[in-house]
Amino acid sequence: MTAAVAVGLLVAGGSYLVLQRGLLRVVLGFVLLGHAMVVLVLAAGGDRGGFALPGNGGGEPADPLPQAFVLTAVVIAFAVTVYLLGLLRAGSEEPSPADDDARGPS
C-alpha cells in the first residue's frame, strides 16, 4: 500500500506543478510525475517485501522485468528533462506571450 500512497502523492504534486505558470515548475512537475511512474511500475511487479541491501539477506528478489522497464524509462525521462531545461534556457532569449521564467515578479 505504500506504493499507492507514494504514487498518489507524487502524481498530485506533479500535476499541480505542471499546471502552474513558469516552465521550471512544469519541468519539475514532470520530474515528480516521472518518479510516480517509477513507483507505479515497480509496484506493478508485486510487493515481494525485499530488503536487498548487501548483507541483509533480504526477502524474495523483486520482479526484475519492471525494474528493467523503470531503468529504461528513467533514462529516457532524464534525457527529455534536460532537453526541456535546454528549452527553458533558450526560451529566455525570445519573448513569450504567456508564461516565462524570465519575467518573474522581480
Partner: protein, 895 residues
C-alpha cells in the same frame, strides 16, 4: 459498346480541346460541335432499339470491392436527356465560335464545356448509382470552374452555387449508400426494378428525402433557387448550356429516374408538387420584376424547372410524358433566348431593358428569332412550347394526392404561365420595341446568329410536327414508369380543359403586358428575401462560429492544454470506481519502514507545491527524489535506486547550470490555484486508487519467474536486472540510448545561439575537490561498467557516474571540455556504431537481432553493447554541459 465509344469520344474531345484551340483559336468550337453531333448520331442510331422497349447496355468492373461497375445503359429517358445535352451543346459550341474572342477561347472554356458535356451524357447513361454520383459531381465542378472563369466578381456567386450543389450532391451520396444497403446492389436498373425492397426498408423515407434534396439543389428549387441567378455572372454560353438547358436538368433527370420507386407515394407527390409550384410562381414573379435580360431568363429557368418538378411529382404517365416533352422544349427555347441575349449584350454593351430600345429596326433577324423563342416560352401555338405546356397542364390536372390537388395545381400553373407570357413579352418589347436609340448598331454576323436561329426555327417546326416525337416520348415514359400507358402526343387535341387553360394564360398574360407599367410598379414594391445575401450571412456566421470553436486551441497557456488529459484521467477514475468490482486480495509485505519514507515524501511534495523560491523548489524536488530512491531501496530494487539517485544528482547539477543567473523567486503561480489544486488532488487520488486496486494483487509474473530462474544460466550474468536490459530486452536499451543521443544532439542545436562562458569560481574547495574527485569517479565508472552484468551497475549507472564527474568539473572550473574525444558528436557516433553493430552482428550469421554472443572469453557482446550505451549517455552529459554551461549571447554582451 457504342455507349462507351460515345463517352470516350466526348472525353477525348475534352482532352483534345486545348490542342484544338491552340490550332484553330475560337473556331475550335465548330470541331467540338461536329463532335457532339457525331456522338448524338451514334446514340440516336440506337433509337429503333429503344423504341422497341429494349435497352443498350455496356458494363465493366470498376471497384469490385465495393460492387461498383462502369455500367452504362441507354433507354428512352437517357436517350431524351443525352440528345438534349448533345444537340444544345453543339449549338452552344457553334455559338461560342463567334461569342468568344480568340484569347478567351484559348482559355479553359472549351475544354471545360466539353468535359461538362461528357459528364452530363455520362450522368444520364450511368446504370450504376455510384457512377451516376461521380458524373453528378463532375458536372457540379465544371459548373464551378466555368463560373469562376468570370474572374474575381464570380467568387461569391461561385461559392454559393458550389456549396449548395455540393450539399445536394452529398445528399445524393447518402441516397446512393442507403439504396445500395436496401437493395444490395449499386446497379441502377436493378434497384429500380425492385421498388419493394426500397419501400419496405427503413431507409425509404431518408432515401426519398435525400433524392429530393439533391434534385432541388441541382435544379434550383425553392428554397435553394437563389444560386442560379447568381451563377449568371458566367459568360453567356455557359449560362445557356449549363444553367438553362442541361446541368440544371440533372435534378429533373434524377426525379424522373427515381419515379419507378416513388411515383404515387403521397409524401413524394406532395413535396414535389408543393415545392415545384412554389418555385414556379416565385420564379415567374421575380422574372417579371427584373430589368436585366439575363436575370429575367435565369428567374424564368427557375420557374420552368419548378413546373417540371411539380409535374414529376404528380407521377402519372401523362405527367411524366409532359415532363419529358417540356424538358426538350425548354432546353430549346431557353438556350435560344440566352444566346440571343448574349448577342444583344455583345452588340449593345447592355442587357438592361431600361437602356435598350428599338433594336428591331437595326437587328430585325435577331428580333425575329427572339420573338419566336419567346412565343414558344409563353406557350403560344403552334410552337413546341405550346404543346409541352398543354401536356404540363394536363399532367398537373391529373394530380390526385387530394381531390383538390389537380385544380389547385392547374390554377397555380396557369398563373405562373401567364406571368411567363408577360415576362416573355417584356423581354421582346424591352429590347426590341420602342424608338431606336442606337442607330449605329447592325445585325450580327450570320454565323453568330445562326445557332440561335436554328434552335428557334426548330422550336417552331417541332410544334406542329410533335407527333414525330411521340414514339420517343412514349418509350421514355414507359421506361420512367414501367407498366404505364403513356398518352399519345399530338399538337392539337381538340377543345380540352388544357386549351382553355392555355387561352386563359395568354389572355391574362396580354393583360399583364398591357398594364405593364402598373404591374411593374406593383411588383417593384414587393420585397423578397435576398438569397445570396442570406447565404453570405450564413457562410460568414459559420466562419465566425468556427473561429470561436477553434479559439481554445490557440491558448498560449500550457496549463490549458495539459488540464484536458488530466481531466480525462479523473473521468476514467470515476468510471473505474463505478465499474470495477471486487479485486483479488493484496499479496503484500507490510512494512512500517516504508510508511515513514512515504510520509516524508508527502511532506516534500507538499513543499514543492508551496515553494515560492527557485532554490526551495529545486531542493524539495531533489529531496522527494531522494525519498523515492530510499523507497526503491527498501523495496528491493537496488539498481533502480542507484540509477534514480544518480539521475537526481545529475539533474541537480544541470539545474544549477541552467538557473545560476536566474531570478531567485519563481513567477507567481497560475491564476486559478484552487481549481488547479482540486484537479491535481483528484488526479492523485485516481492514481493512488488505481495503483492500490490494480497492482500487488497477483503472484510473480511468468516472465519474472523465468528471469529469476533462468537468466544466469542463459546469459552468464548474475545481475538479473542487467541481463534483462542488455540480453533479453536489449532492443529497448538500444533505443533508449538512441533517445539519449538525439536529446544530446538537440541540446547542442539549442546551444548554438550561445557562446562558451567561463565562470570564475572562487570556491577553491570545489575546484580542488573536483580535480581530485574526477579521476576517481572515472575509474569507478569503468569498474561499474565492467561488473554491471553481475552486480548492480552497467552502462547507465557507470555513464552517469562519469557524467557527474564531467559536470562537476564544468561547474567548478567553468571550462567546457575541449578534448577532441570528449565531444558529443564522436561519442554519439562511436557509441551508436558499437551498440547497433553488436545488435545487428548476429544477423550476419543468421541469428536473430540482438542475440548475445561472446567475442572472446570475458568480452561478451553484452559488455560491448553496454559500452556503446555508456558512450551515448556520456555524450548526453557532455552535450548538456556544453549547451547549458554557456550563457545566452545577449547576456554575454550585456555583461
Amino acid at each position: 459498346m457504342s455507349l462507351l465509344v460515345a463517352l470516350a469520344a466526348l472525353g477525348g474531345l475534352a482532352a483534345g480541346a486545348p490542342l484544338l484551340t491552340r490550332a484553330l483559336g475560337r473556331n475550335a468550337g465548330y470541331v467540338l460541335a461536329a463532335g457532339f453531333l457525331g456522338v448524338a448520331c451514334l446514340l440516336a442510331a440506337h433509337t429503333p432499339t429503344v423504341l422497341d422497349d429494349r435497352t443498350v447496355d455496356w458494363s465493366a468492373d470498376w471497384i469490385p470491392s465495393l460492387g461498383v461497375s462502369l455500367a452504362l445503359r441507354l433507354d428512352g429517358v437517357s436517350l431524351v436527356f443525352s440528345l438534349v445535352a448533345l444537340v444544345v451543346g453543339a449549338l452552344v459550341m457553334a455559338y461560342c465560335c463567334r461569342y468568344l474572342g480568340d484569347a478567351s477561347a484559348r482559355g479553359p472554356v472549351y475544354p471545360l464545356l466539353a468535359l461538362f458535356a461528357a459528364a452530363m451524357v455520362g450522368l444520364v447513361l450511368a446504370d450504376d448509382l455510384v457512377l451516376l454520383y461521380v458524373f453528378w459531381e463532375i458536372t457540379t465542378l465544371c459548373s464551378f470552374a466555368l463560373v469562376s472563369t468570370a474572374g474575381a466578381k464570380a467568387a461569391g456567386p461561385g461559392r454559393h452555387a458550389l456549396v449548395v450543389t455540393v450539399v445536394g450532391g452529398l445528399a445524393l451520396l447518402v441516397a446512393v449508400v442507403l439504396l445500395t444497403l436496401a437493395t444490395g446492389t449499386t446497379r441502377l436498373s436493378a434497384v429500380l426494378a425492385d421498388p419493394a425492397s426500397v419501400l419496405d426498408s427503413p431507409y425509404a423515407l431518408p432515401i426519398a428525402a435525400c433524392v429530393a434534396l439533391a434534385a432541388f439543389t441541382k435544379s434550383a428549387q425553392f428554397p435553394f433557387q437563389s444560386w442560379l441567378p447568381g451563377a449568371m455572372v458566367a459568360m453567356t454560353p455557359v449560362s445557356a448550356y449549363l444553367h438553362a438547358a442541361t446541368m440544371v436538368k440533372a435534378g429533373i433527370y434524377l426525379l424522373v429516374r427515381m419515379s419507378p420507386l416513388f411515383a404515387g407515394q403521397t409524401a413524394w407527390s406532395a413535396v414535389l408538387i408543393t415545392v415545384g409550384l412554389t418555385t414556379a410562381l416565385l420564379g415567374a414573379v421575380q422574372a417579371l420584376r427584373e430589368h436585366d435580360l439575363k436575370a429575367m431568363l435565369a428567374r424564368s429557368t427557375v420557374s420552368q424547372l419548378g413546373l417540371l418538378v411539380a409535374v414529376i411529382g404528380v407521377g402519372t404517365s401523362t405527367a411524366l410524358a409532359a415532363a419529358l416533352l417540356h424538358t426538350m422544349a425548354h432546353a430549346l427555347f431557353k438556350a435560344t433566348l440566352f444566346m440571343l441575349v448574349g448577342i444583344v449584350d455583345k452588340e449593345t454593351g447592355s442587357r438592361d431593358i431600361r437602356e435598350l430600345s428599338g433594336l428591331r429596326k437595326v437587328m430585325p433577324w435577331t428580333a425575329a428569332a427572339t420573338a419566336v423563342a419567346a412565343l414558344s416560352m409563353a406557350g403560344v401555338p403552334p410552337m413546341l412550347g405550346f404543346v409541352s405546356k398543354e401536356y404540363l397542364f394536363m399532367g398537373l390536372l391529373s394530380a390526385d394526392v387530394t381531390p383538390w390537388a389537380g385544380p389547385v395545381a392547374g390554377a397555380v400553373a396557369v398563373t405562373a404561365s401567364a406571368l411567363t407570357f408577360a415576362y416573355g413579352a417584356r423581354i421582346v418589347w424591352g429590347a426590341f420595341g420602342g424608338p431606336v436609340e442606337q442607330p449605329e448598331l447592325y445585325e450580327p454576323a450570320p454565323a453568330f446568329l445562326a445557332p440561335a436561329a436554328v434552335a428557334a426555327v426548330v422550336g417552331v417546326l417541332a410544334g406542329p410536327a410533335v407527333s414525330l416525337l411521340d414514339p420517343v416520348i412514349d418509350s421514355a415514359t414507359t421506361d420512367a414508369l414501367p407498366g404505364s400507358t403513356p398518352p399519345s402526343i399530338y399538337a392539337w387535341h381538340g377543345l380540352s380543359p388544357e386549351l382553355a387553360m392555355s387561352a386563359t394564360t395568354v389572355a391574362v398574360g396580354l393583360v399583364l403586358f398591357w398594364q405593364r407599367d402598373r404591374v411593374d410598379a406593383a411588383l417593384q414594391r414587393l420585397r423578397f428575401p435576398d438569397g445570396p445575401a442570406l447565404f453570405t450571412r450564413g457562410h460568414d456566421a459559420l466562419l465566425a462560429f468556427g473561429g470561436r470553436v477553434g479559439a481554445p486551441d490557440r491558448s498560449p497557456s500550457l496549463a490549458a492544454h495539459l488540464a484536458r488529459p488530466l481531466l480525462a484521467v479523473v473521468a476514467l477514475g470515476v468510471v473505474g470506481l463505478l465499474t470495477v468490482g471486487p479485486v483479488p486480495a493484496r499479496v503484500d509485505a507490510g512494512d512500517p519502514g516504508r510508511w515513514l519514507v512515504v510520509a516524508l515524501l508527502g511532506a516534500a511534495v507538499l513543499g514543492t507545491a508551496l515553494a515560492t523560491r527557485t532554490v526551495a523548489l529545486v531542493a524539495l524536488v531533489g529531496v522527494a527524489g531522494l525519498f523515492v530512491s530510499l523507497w526503491l531501496l527498501l523495496s528491493g530494487s537496488l539498481d533502480v535506486a542507484i540509477t534514480l539517485l544518480l539521475v537526481e544528482v545529475l539533474t541537480a547539477v544541470v539545474l544549477v547550470l541552467v538557473l545560476r543567473d536566474r531570478p531567485l523567486r519563481l513567477p507567481a503561480p497560475g491564476p486559478r490555484r484552487l481549481p488547479t489544486a482540486v484537479l491535481a488532488v483528484a488526479v492523485g487520488l485516481v492514481a493512488a486508487g488505481a495503483t492500490a486496486a490494480l497492482t500487488g494483487r497477483r503472484e510473480l509474473s511468468a516472465a519474472g519467474t523465468f528471469f529469476l530462474d533462468r537468466a544466469e544460466e542463459l546469459t552468464g550474468g548474475t545481475n538479473v536486472v542487467n541481463t534483462v536490459l542488455v540480453d533479453f530486452r536489449g532492443l529497448d536499451t538500444l533505443l533508449e540510448s538512441v533517445v539519449v543521443g538525439v536529446a544530446a544532439l538537440g541540446l547542442l542545436l539549442l546551444g548554438t545561439a550561445t557562446v562558451p562562458h567561463p565562470t570564475d569560481t572562487d570556491d577553491v574547495l570545489l575546484r580542488v575537490g573536483t580535480h581530485l574527485l574526477a579521476p576517481g569517479m572515472l575509474l569507478l565508472s569503468a569498474w561499474l561498467l565492467w561488473r554491471g552484468h553481475d552486480e548492480p551497475g552497467g552502462g547507465f549507472i557507470s555513464a552517469l557516474v562519469a557524467g557527474i564527474a564531467v559536470a562537476l568539473r564544468q561547474l567548478a572550473s567553468g571550462t567546457v571540455p575541449t578534448r577532441a574525444w570528449l565531444q558529443p558528436g564522436p561519442l554519439l557516433g562511436v557509441g551508436a556504431v558499437l551498440s547497433v553493430g553488436v545488435g545487428l552482428a548476429p544477423l550476419l550469421v543468421g541469428d536473430a537481432l540482438l542475440t548475445p554472443f561472446h567475442l572472446v572469453p570475458f568480452l561478451s557482446s553484452a559488455l560491448v553493447f553496454d559500452l556503446g550505451v555508456w558512450l551515448m549517455v556520456l555524450a548526453l552529459v557532455v552535450a548538456v554541459v556544453q549547451a547549458l554551461g554557456a550563457r545566452p549571447e545577449h547576456e554575454q554582451v550585456a555583461a
